[in-house]
Amino acid sequence: MMEKEKQLVKIEHLYKEFDSDTKVLKDINLTINKNEVIAILGPSGTGKSTLLRCLNYLTEPTSGVISISDVTVDAAHHTKKEILELRKHSSMVFQSYNLFKNKTALENVMEALTQVQKKPKAEAEKIALELLGKVGMLERKDFYPSKLSGGQQQRVGIARALAVNPNVLLFDEPTSALDPELVGEVLNTIKKLAEEGTTMILVTHEVGFAREVATRVLFMDGGQIAADGTPEEIIDHPENPRIRQFLNFVNRK
């Protein structure tokens, strides 16, 4: 029973085909427990981002069942309402930040609080200010995204994702669009969350970072999970030759 309670995300027989020739995900089965920090590694085009995006139906799976907390959505017969419910249990940090351009940093973080969770404005503002403080963006709370650097925008993006108090936080290559000197501030923010026990799934190319913060590493190859284990197993002592090849390639960059 204990095991069952810790289980937070469950993916069963997930398939995604863009057309009959491009099968991006092939029978993904995965269970994620509360407080796990999962890093998904793998070569480009192996379905990492697609898998992540299927979890909140930004990409609609071809078939399969996804459960987060008490919401279960079956791709075969899903309703708009179910998807809306599913989305309320997770939130996402995007590669290109995707902040709302017509809203300040503070308003970006408040948006879902007032609109989705229907919290009163004062309460939403209090939560938003707290989170902006957490990501070190309090001083720039009234700035529009266009006046913020990439790293600052991404930190606001993280605060916005945290605001809805999600069961699981999804990171889709959160540092890939950043200049090298700005990667650190974002990684530090994510690290802080990991230390607090936030359940996270990270699609990333930062192998060193994955090694440091992840409690579990998935290696994806050809639309399947080719390896699933601790960072030590997957990154330090990879048995799979494809992983070694990938790590060699990444390290050489």
Partner: protein, 220 residues
């Protein structure tokens, strides 16, 4: 030669018809915006059948002279439609101007709607926002800022377009000029006055346009 005294005399006579110009412009702006928004939304959501029809409509409206459209409507369609036949010239001009400018405005509006990137929409969805919330809170505020300057430019064009009204007998600025011309044959002063009046109106609106453009660009 150019007679200043006559020019000063005829200027207020012609300018007294400026209310017709404004009435037409305001009516046409409102209805053109309605037409424009409807067509833009159809195009934005790629509504089957309707979006193809509106594309043909926009192409015809943009690809033919307004004068031809006005004559086709007021004289052509009137042959088969009592509704059009019974229209006053003023209303008929307002209708044609709205239909014509609506096509132009739809393009500005559609472009503005499309300017909101997919990423922001995904962000809204990922937070559990509904489609309506996304449109009302994210897309429209951003689209308005993009669309406002070109739309205002369309309004300026509408002002100049009102001069067509006279061609089907609406007594506007151009109509007053014609009447004066028939009396005095001093076309030089008369049409100089006409141009000056239009120019002053458009010039003032041009300043507003510049201000609007700057304001929109620096909003966020």
């Amino acid at each position: 030669m150019f007679k200043v005294s006559y020019f000063m005399e005829v200027l207020p006579v012609i300018a007294s018809k400026v209310n017709v110009t404004f009435e037409l412009t305001i009516a046409a702006t409102i209805f053109a915006l309605l037409v424009g928004v409807v067509i833009a939304v159809i195009g934005y959501y790629k509504v089957p059948v309707l979006s193809q029809l509106t594309r043909v409509y926009v192409s015809v409206m943009r690809g033919t002279p307004v004068v031809a459209q006005l004559y086709f409507f007021y004289y052509g369609i009137a042959l088969y439609s009592n509704f059009v036949k019974n229209m006053t010239p003023l209303v008929a001009v307002a209708v044609v101007m709205s239909l014509n400018m609506g096509a132009f405005m739809s393009e500005s509006i559609r472009g503005a709607l499309l300017s909101v990137d997919e990423g922001q929409k995904e962000a809204a969805y990922s937070l559990g926002m509904t489609n309506l919330q996304l449109v009302v809170r994210i897309i429209i505020p951003q689209a308005v800022r993009i669309a406002l300057p070109p739309l205002f430019n369309d309004v300026i064009n509408l002002i100049k377009m009102t001069s067509l009204a006279f061609m089907i007998g609406v007594p506007d600025i151009m109509g007053a000029a014609k009447i004066e011309g028939a009396k005095t044959f001093r076309y030089f002063e008369i049409y100089a006055a006409v141009m000056l009046i239009y120019w002053i109106i458009v010039f003032i609106l041009g300043i507003v346009h510049k201000f609007l453009e700057k304001k929109c660009a620096s909003m966020y």
